[in-house]
Amino acid sequence: MTILIAMAAVCALVEGLLIGMPDVSQDLDDWAITVEDAMALEPVLWVDGRSTDAYLSGHLEGAVHLNLDGWETGLGNLLQEWDPGLAVVVYCDGNGCESSRSIAERLRMELGGNNVYWLVDGWPALQGEGMAP
């Protein structure tokens, strides 16, 4: 086992020397958007990235449910509402709010566009603005 770990370390070292350590401190938030900025993007297609239970108990009017565990079904629903001119904003439950970032990243790849954002502070931010129940 030690040999396996050592071999992996050598490969990792070579790869690390070739690439160099990136600075990811800035690009983590490139696609973050606040509620205020999202409203300025109208028309917006909202995507609810929370659990099915949370979605069913209340969501933004017109929001499409899409999360990582039910991707294909959710994407099918989204494609029925989406057109390339629409800005897409994904929100999650606000606790860390990382799944919205992942969903937005994946949507940018699958929709082939750059108009997909994730909402800073998610659902609680929408509630704070009086947009969500």
Binding site: A12, E15, G16, D69
Partner: protein, 136 residues
């Protein structure tokens, strides 16, 4: 029958870790981001892990296919999976709503789903270790 069962689990494990390792090795920066989202590691440590872990997965996956390396590779996979489960459990406990990062970018799954999947993989690796031991 014993051999058939062993090879089913063995090939499933090798295929999973080969794919998982390859997807992350080809995009270590994205994997570093995924590690940072667990909010447990400094960037330098996350970078070291982003480079090292995928190569360990690939080495262990290939090692599973070689008889003389099989036990060691299965042992390494068990260690990796225990480590992953601790990280995922910690994220679930803290209520972090993150992509697990298990398969690099673009193939995400939730922490809860990854916890369950890794339990299955852990069971498969333990079965391989047991079945690989020589019979008395």
């Amino acid at each position: 029958m014993r051999n058939v069962i062993k090879w089913i689990f063995l090939l499933a494990l090798a295929a999973f870790f080969l794919v998982a390792g390859f997807l992350k090795v080809t995009d270590p920066v994205e994997f570093m981001r995924a590690i940072l989202r667990y909010q447990l590691f400094a960037p330098t440590l996350a970078w070291v892990a982003a480079l090292w872990v995928p190569w360990m997965e690939i080495a262990a996956a290939l090692g599973l296919l070689l008889r003389s390396w099989r036990q060691a590779s299965a042992g390494l996979i068990i260690l990796l999976l225990i480590g992953f489960e601790i990280l995922l459990g910690s994220a679930a406990y803290r209520g972090l709503d993150i992509d697990c990062g298990c398969l690099g970018s673009g193939a995400g799954s939730s922490v809860q789903l990854a916890l369950l999947r890794n339990l299955g993989l852990l069971l498969a690796a333990i079965i391989v270790v047991i079945l690989e031991r020589p019979r008395k």
